[in-house]
């Protein structure tokens, strides 16, 4: 039972020691220790949060970049497509125009040829007429020296003329 009987002396000294420890440590040890630990934890916490934020930002920027690149690529494709279309349109147009021009030129040429042919025919006719007159004149001058001859020549020429 001696073990279970509290002794006042030890109770007193234990109380005193514990109170001294509590007071001294509470004033000089725990605050600085706990503060340092808390500050460190908060620093780590904030650093982690900042890192997370930075990472998120970087990811967002990366996302943005990809989006911009994608858009640029799409635009490029669109422009290329349009350009190709325009090109084919232009070529088509040019071809059509060329064809039309050719057609026109051909038509004009054939018209010119026709006209020239006609002119030439007229010219020829005129020339033939003139020649005929000249020839007739010459023949007449020569042949008409003799009656017989004149008649013969006229007949001969007239015959020839009929063949034409």
């Amino acid at each position: 039972m001696e073990l279970l009987t509290p002794s006042p002396g030890l109770v007193f000294w234990t109380s005193l020691t514990f109170v001294i420890l509590l007071v001294i440590l509470r004033k000089y040890a725990w605050p600085s220790i706990l503060r340092a630990l808390k500050v460190r934890e908060e620093t780590i916490h904030f650093a982690l949060e900042d890192a997370k934020k930075a990472k998120e930002e970087a990811e967002q920027m990366e996302h943005q970049r990809k989006k911009v690149i994608d858009e640029a690529r799409k635009e490029r494709d669109l422009i290329l497509k349009e350009a190709r279309q325009v090109k084919s349109e232009i070529i088509e147009e040019a071809r059509n125009e060329a064809r039309e021009e050719v057609q026109r030129m051909l038509e004009k040429a054939s018209r010119d040829i026709e006209m020239q042919r006609k002119d030439a025919m007229l010219e020829i006719r005129k020339t033939i007429g003139n020649l005929s007159v000249e020839i007739a004149e010459k023949i007449l001058k020569e042949e008409l020296s003799g009656e017989e001859k004149q008649k013969k020549v006229i007949n001969a020429y007239l015959n020839e003329m009929n063949f034409n």
Binding site: L10, W13, L21, W30, S32, I33
Partner: protein
Amino acid sequence: MKKIILIFFLLLGSFSTQASGEPQSPDEPVDAFGLIMDHISDAHQWHVVDYTNSRGHEVHINVPLPVILWHNNSLWFFSSGHFYHEQEPQQLGNDYVILHEEQFYITGDEGELEMDAEGNIRNASPLDFSITKNVASMILSMALLLLMFLSAGKAYARHGIAPARGFRAVLEPLILFVRDDIARSQIAKDKADKFVPFLLTMFFFIWINNLIGIIPFFPGGSNLSGNISFTATLAVFSFLVINVFAVKDYWKHIFLAPGMPFPIKILLVPLEFIGIFTKPFALMIRLFANITAGHIIILSLISIIFIIKSIYIAPVSILLSLVMFLLELLVAVLQAYIFTLLTALFIGMSTTKSEH
């Protein structure tokens, strides 16, 4: 640190060696119970070592401790060496005092004890505020704690948030453990930090005294944390902290037992009221019993050698007590943890507003 070593050597210098006349006869049966009780009870001197010198005399080396007695409204100071070495009673004003089985009794000038019919001593005892072995080891633990944590505190103030190095790196996980897993896990978040210094002090105070108690040689070996006075005092501190900071809901819960039918209230309120006291009482008994039991087991295992008087049992005995020592190391921290955890739990219960 140097100061502590100096104090240690001063203590060594004050050792009293005492050679007793007759060597113990080897046939005498070993009083294992007396030996064990002697080791786990408090003493007014600090026993260092006994040995038999070359002339066959037994030599006891003890550190005498100051004796402080309160008698007739005044304090009396002695060295405990006088009580152990001299057979005459020491004068205490008009009265005389003797030390009998670590207890002081007021006697006449002959130093005779008066016994009643059942063999109980009828002499009065003065109030004993002596620096006993337990008090001395408690002062040692206080010095160690102050050294540890004041230097750690200074180091934290100097190095700020840099990672802890050296001894601080050992203390830091423990401090964090007490703060996070004892205080913050049991007490409401906004109130937990207020109790952290108290819980930290309590945890380290109990733990270091448990550890000093396990050290089998001087300056350890005191059974302070296995002493009911020590555990009772700490339990009273727990009790005070639990109830002083309690919120209104806690008292309402105890004395009104809201939400219960009246007949049950009649039963419940006294139970709850007793519960206020049984909680710290259980703390007191748990720490006392665990530490004392550990000491008794180790001492018993060692005593087996002397009871059986055979060298061949020694390896078994030593091996078993080694296992017990390792277990005691665990128990030392475990009991400090349990004491602090339950205190925190009860504080948490008394400071939380309950939802009924």
